[in-house]
Amino acid sequence: MKIILAGPGAFGKKHLDGLKNIEGVEVVALVGQPLEPTQAVAAQYGIPHAMTDLDQALALPGVEAAMLPRRFSV
């Protein structure tokens, strides 16, 4: 299952650590602002895309789920 995760902060990393143990789950994009630290966390976890825009991440092909360990607005 391809998923994206928004929020590369302290708790985002805890989720990425947990997700590594779950079979068949692939984090395809990490969303965060600013871009540079988001890229660093993505590189650390082998996540192919780092981006600042949530909609852009959701539009990636085959994404089935999003995890949002951050504050967000509906």
Binding site: F11, H15, E64, P69, V74
Partner: protein, 225 residues
């Protein structure tokens, strides 16, 4: 999930419109420690008389759990109290029928209350006493004392001890000892199986209604001199 009642309702409405799995990060429903207590309650071996919870941080500047700058401001009621109110309703399996709150003065720069005290009563008489502070100079985190008819237990995140500080083996409670991983497993499994997750938006919504009531009560609190 939200920092006000109308946004919480908006998430619920969107879930109903789309029919998608929507799960809220109330990790305490998944920590092995709290699950151990939950299973005892479900088996009829334990009833909570009082849940005493302390949420303590030293957060006089806007930084995250790793000490890095944050782009948002944390909140004692809509974030930290949310976890405990949700846990209390989850563990008792009951709605909160009475709720009280008082708070200390607003921080001049952060614009939030730094100290808060909350009391809850469940339908059958379980009590919850929650103390929250961003002024506590350690230890940091949330600690729970389950005072029950048949034992007293203290939960610290994934770990559980008796009142005499004897460790309880929670390794067989679930497939992992990591509450965040267990929560993530439930999210993924509920999508794969097309079912409602343990912390669905519908299941946690009563927590946000209680917080809304508490917020209204706090708004009537006299201005502090």
């Amino acid at each position: 999930m939200a920092d006000n009642w109308s946004d919480a309702q908006a998430v619920m409405d969107l879930q109903q419109e789309t029919g998608l799995v929507c799960m809220v990060g109330h990790t305490r429903r998944f920590n092995p420690s709290h699950q151990w207590v939950y299973k005892k309650i479900q088996a009829g071996e334990l009833k909570i008389q009082q849940l005493d919870a302390q949420t303590y941080f030293f957060r006089r500047k806007n930084i995250n759990a790793a000490g890095e700058p944050r782009t948002w401001t944390d909140h004692l009621l809509w974030h930290h109290a949310a976890h405990t109110i949700d846990l209390f309703q989850f563990q008792t399996g009951e709605e909160v029928v009475r709720a009280n709150a008082v708070q200390g003065p607003m921080h001049p720069e952060l614009g939030i209350a730094m100290d808060m005290s909350i009391q809850l009563l469940s339908e059958s008489g379980s009590v919850c006493t929650l103390s929250l502070s961003f002024n506590n100079d350690g230890p940091l985190g949330t600690f729970f004392r389950y005072i029950c008819d048949n034992g007293t237990y203290i939960a610290r995140y994934d770990d559980l001890v008796t009142a005499k500080d004897e460790a309880i083996d929670v390794s067989q409670v679930d497939v992992s000892m990591n509450g965040i991983e267990l929560q993530d497993r439930e999210f993924i499994a509920s999508i794969r199986e097309g079912r409602e997750p343990r912390a669905s938006v519908a299941k946690v919504l009563p927590t946000y209604r209680v917080m809304h009531q508490l917020e209204q009560q706090l708004n009537t609190q006299p201005t502090l001199s």
